[in-house]
């Protein structure tokens, strides 16, 4: 009897994990299919395009598969300035967005905790700009910040700016636009981690002789780090590839062109697909390297 019991129970124990992994696989299938179809295939196609060479004796925009590694050399020598500018703008704009978003998220997530209605309202206000098209909002800023617009003309009238000063088309305007457009992506993840913050830890900090600043640095900030990290990633990555804010038609000028603008013009104007593809891949690699360094650093770094 006892042996019989063991014999029947053994296969059950063994098969349980296997069955579970089958279920897991089944559930993952749509995700895997999606990734394969919409990420892997385009990526491979992009890599192949980036090595293409012009088909001899044809018009503009006709290319054939080759292994033209010189495309990358050309991109590096011609567009490294745009590359660096993109990353620089992205870093500065992300930092600005963080400086603006953290206090805002803290206010909504912690200070307004006792007033759920106000909290919900403030959150809605953070998201509200999304109801208007990204392009329209940026165009509106162009109007507001233009030389004849209310901001600049007022500053000029107050003699805080010279009569020939202008703002649109400068790096400052582009960075402003980038930071502005991506602030909700920074605020929401930080809000989510601050909203969960257990204030008893903050109390414990102050009980253990830590000043409010010290408590913020040693307790609040590390505990909200997940939100800060995802917020900066959600902001930094799209900003690096942005081609709207920096374009002539919006807040930028030819001096502020970012990689996104170059890719756009290579693709649509010059129809130089291999160069556009190589630029995209270099941008992707640069972001990947920077982000992985950042994630590793912020993961292990002792913020205390």
């Amino acid at each position: 009897m006892a042996f019989g019991a063991f014999a029947t129970s053994a296969p059950v124990v063994e098969s349980a994990p296997r069955r579970r992994s089958k279920v897991a696989l089944l559930l993952l299938l749509p995700g895997i299919a999606y990734l394969a179809l919409f990420f892997l295939v385009p990526l491979v196609s992009l890599v192949l395009t980036s090595f293409q060479a012009k088909t001899p004796g044809t018009d503009i925009g006709v290319y054939e598969y080759a292994f033209k590694i010189e495309n990358y050399g050309f991109v590096f020598s011609t567009y490294s300035e745009h590359m660096l500018r993109s990353l620089l703008y992205a870093v500065v704009a992300t930092a600005l967005a963080l400086l603006f978003s953290y206090p805002l998220a803290y206010f909504i997530g912690v200070t307004l905790r006792k007033f759920p209605l106000l909290q919900a309202l403030s959150l809605t206000l953070v998201i509200a700009p999304f109801f208007i098209s990204f392009l329209l909002r940026t165009l509106a800023w162009k109007q507001i910040l233009s030389d004849e617009g209310p901001v600049i003309s007022t500053l000029k009238a107050l003699s805080l700016l010279g009569s020939d000063a202008h703002f649109t088309g400068t790096p400052g305007a582009v960075i402003f636009g980038l930071a502005y457009n991506f602030i909700p992506f920074m605020t929401l993840p930080i809000y989510t981690s601050l909203e969960k913050l257990d204030l008893r830890y903050v109390e414990a900090g102050s009980d253990l002789y830590a000043s409010p600043v010290r408590t913020f640095l040693s307790v609040t900030l590390p505990l909200s780090a997940p939100g800060v990290i995802s917020g900066t990633l959600l902001t930094f990555i799209p900003i690096s590839g942005d081609f709207v804010n920096a374009s002539n038609a919006f807040l930028g000028s030819s001096e502020t062109a970012m990689v996104g603008n170059v890719i756009e013009s290579q693709f649509f104007t010059s129809q130089n697909y291999p160069i556009a593809a190589a630029l995209s891949i270099i941008l992707m690699a640069a972001i990947l390297i920077l982000v992985s360094i950042y994630v590793r650093k912020s993961g292990t770094e002792d913020l205390v």
Partner: protein, 398 residues
């Protein structure tokens, strides 16, 4: 900021402290003085305002009215981090992103005390947790977390240490051991401890002074023996151990004692042990002071006798046996008898008389017309937790 370790404890004085939350008064006109270097225990039912009192002293809550003085200095408006006070939180509040060692060293580092890690290790050894110094709090058991919380506060050697049920999650053996450690630390340096506990035995054995709190007020305060032997209110009489209480009218108020007529039975109480000397009064006696007799004892001066009654329950609990006796018109009376012989002295259903020395009786301050006041009305804990704690308390008492 308080620099360095405290040389000695500081006294704590609460003057007319009132704390009102929106729509709820948690503390009402609380006056309390705890002398430097004493071990003060605060006992009371759940929700009576113990944690709130500690939070007020730590500065985590602002009083609605009143003043708080630590070591003679008014700290009412001082920020928590500037007070020479540390707290062992009821919820531990260990920093989840720091290791156990970093948690314990936190306060020392903030005050720039030399060798914070060495001292933190020492404190962890004290609570027998040095081997988990590198773990995160989430990787510890509840009792281990509680001991880390204890170490994190004690390591700072503050002039005033606030302990909010610091040993509640520990088993009996470990709890006894930690009690001894705590008492040693306290008496070595002469620190002042304000200790909140649900465990009466813990309060009685450790504290110099015990205060029983009820509904935001101190009901009675004094040395443990005094509180136990001479409770002043029905709440204290029932909260600290058990009591048999009777209500009657004073028929004779003499110089030495008063005589109370309880449903026809005359009971004598020493005058200085009675809070009220006329009218309707409540008197009481502890169950272990009662003696069982199987025949009516001869009335002798200095002894009260009630009965006959009938034993309706006998429960054996090791060192003693608890008898429940129904006395007509007086109600149920509990008797604890030492187990001097094998088996119960009397059996279920037996007819008995109960006697006690007059000197053991006490008279209460409560007006019987007000009714009993010992049901806590509000609570900070979930019902399940309360129920479990109540069960545990009952088990412990048994």
């Amino acid at each position: 900021m308080a620099g360095g370790f405290a040389e000695a404890g500081a006294d704590l004085e609460l003057v007319g402290i009132t704390k009102r939350f929106p729509g709820f008064t948690a503390i009402e006109e609380l006056n309390l003085t705890i002398p430097a270097g004493s071990f003060f225990a605060l006992l009371g039912p759940s929700g009576c305002g113990k944690t709130t009192t500690l939070r007020l002293v730590a500065g985590l809550e602002d009083p609605t009215a009143g003043r708080i003085l630590i070591g003679g200095k008014d700290v009412t408006t001082t920020k928590p981090y500037q007070r020479p006070v540390n707290t062992v939180f009821q919820s531990y509040a260990l920093f989840p992103h720091m290791t156990v060692l970093e948690n314990v060293a936190f306060g020392l580092k903030r005050r720039r005390i030399a060798d914070p890690l060495g001292k933190a290790h020492e404190a962890l050894r004290l609570v027998e947790l040095d081997h988990v110094a590198q773990r995160k709090p989430a990787q510890l058991s509840g009792g281990q977390q509680q001991r880390v919380a204890l170490a994190r506060a004690v390591v700072n050697r503050p002039a005033l240490l606030l302990l909010d049920e610091p040993l509640g999650a520990l088993d009996l053996k470990l709890r006894r051991q930690m009690q001894i450690e705590l008492k040693d630390i306290q008496s070595d340096v002469g620190l002042t401890f304000l200790h909140v506990t649900h465990d009466q035995e813990e309060a009685m054995t450790m504290a110099d002074t015990v205060a029983v709190m009820n509904k935001g007020q101190i009901e009675q305060m004094g040395a443990p023996e005094e509180l136990y032997e001479l409770p002043k209110t029905a709440f204290v009489a029932n909260f600290l151990g058990q009591s048999n209480l009777f209500t009657g009218t004073v028929t004779n108020s003499g110089k030495e004692s008063i005589i109370v007529d309880v449903a026809g039975t005359k009971i004598e109480v020493p005058r200085e042990r009675a809070q009220r000397h006329a009218g309707e009064v409540t008197i009481g006696v502890r169950p272990e002071k009662l003696m069982l007799h199987t025949s009516a004892p001869k009335p002798t001066p200095g002894t009260n006798v009630i009965g006959p009654g009938r034993v309706n329950d006998v429960s054996f609990s090791g060192v003693s046996t608890q008898y429940s006796v129904t006395v007509p018109k007086l109600g149920n009376v509990i008797v604890f008898a030492q187990n001097m012989v094998f088996g119960p002295v009397v059996n279920d259903g037996a007819e008995v008389w109960l006697a006690w020395t007059v000197d053991h009786g006490f008279g209460l301050l409560d007006d019987p017309a007000d009714g009993p006041r010992f049901e806590p009305d509000t609570d900070t804990k979930s019902i399940a937790v309360q129920r479990r704690e109540k069960l545990e308390e009952e088990l412990e008492e048994a």
